[in-house]
C-alpha cells in the first residue's frame, strides 16, 4: 500500500480526499480522518506562518507513514500538511487512515499525528492581532510525551 503524501501551501478538501481513498473499494471497514485547524487563541492570533524544510518534510512524513504501516494493517493512508500563512479557522493538516477494522484506523491516525508533531520538520510562527512582536511557537513536552507512549 502506497500512502498519499502531500506538502503544499494550498488548502485541501478533507471530504474529497476521503472519497478518493475509498471510492470503488469494498475492503475498507473503517476510515478515521483527522483535520487540524488554526485556532484564534481567544481572538489574539492573526495568523500562523508555517515554515518547513522542503524535501525533508515529505521524506520524514514518508518515514512516519512507513512506521504506521508496519504497525497496523492499513488499506489506505493520506497525509497532507500545509505550509505558508494560515489564518484562524483554516486547515493545517489532514490524516486519513483506512483499515478493515476501526481499532486499527483510530490507533494509526493518533500515532501518525503524535509522530508528525514531533518529527516532521515544520515550525510555527505566530502573528498577533495587536501587532506585538512575532514569536515562534515552542515545542510542547506534552507532544513529546504523547509520541513517547508509542515506543516499543
Amino acid at each position: 500500500m502506497t500512502p498519499t503524501i502531500r506538502v503544499q501551501a494550498a488548502d485541501f478538501d478533507a471530504a474529497r480526499e476521503e472519497a478518493l481513498l475509498t471510492e470503488g473499494r469494498r475492503d475498507v471497514g473503517a476510515v478515521v480522518a483527522f483535520t487540524g485547524l488554526c485556532r484564534d487563541e481567544d481572538g489574539t492570533l492573526d495568523a500562523l506562518e508555517l515554515e518547513h524544510y522542503p524535501g525533508m518534510a515529505e521524506e520524514e512524513i514518508g518515514r512516519v507513514a512507513g512506521e504506521a504501516l508496519s504497525r497496523w494493517p492499513l488499506v489506505g493512508l493520506t497525509i497532507i500538511h500545509r505550509h505558508g500563512v494560515i489564518r484562524p479557522g483554516e486547515r493545517i493538516v489532514l490524516v486519513i487512515a483506512a483499515a478493515r477494522h476501526r481499532g486499527e484506523a483510530f490507533a494509526a491516525a493518533e500515532f501518525l499525528m503524535d509522530y508528525l508533531k514531533t518529527r516532521a520538520p515544520f515550525w510555527k510562527k505566530e502573528r498577533r492581532v495587536d501587532g506585538a512582536e512575532e514569536g515562534w511557537v515552542a515545542a510542547k513536552s506534552e507532544d513529546d510525551a504523547a509520541a513517547a507512549r508509542w515506543a516499543r
Binding site: Y53, M56, A120, P121
Partner: protein
Amino acid sequence: MKAVYFAWVRERIGVSEEEIAPPREVETVRQLVEWLAARGEGYAAAFANPKTIRTAIDKTHAAPDAPIASAREIAFFPPMTGG
C-alpha cells in the same frame, strides 16, 4: 558541505544556507555545533543552548554524536512544532 538553517536558528544566524568547511578534527554533529557557535555573534546566539537544537544530515534526523564526514547537507533547527 552545505549548512541550512530554519526558524529562529535561521533568524539569529541571518542566512538560510551557506557552504561551510569545518576542519578535519570536527567529526560529529556536537563538535560542528561548537565550531559554528564560535563563528560570530549570531551563531553564538543561535547555538547558545545546544539542547534546543535539532540536526538533520541529508534530510534525516541525526543525533549529536552522529559522524558528519559523509554529509552533503546538514540542517539545524529548533524542535518541530508542526501538526
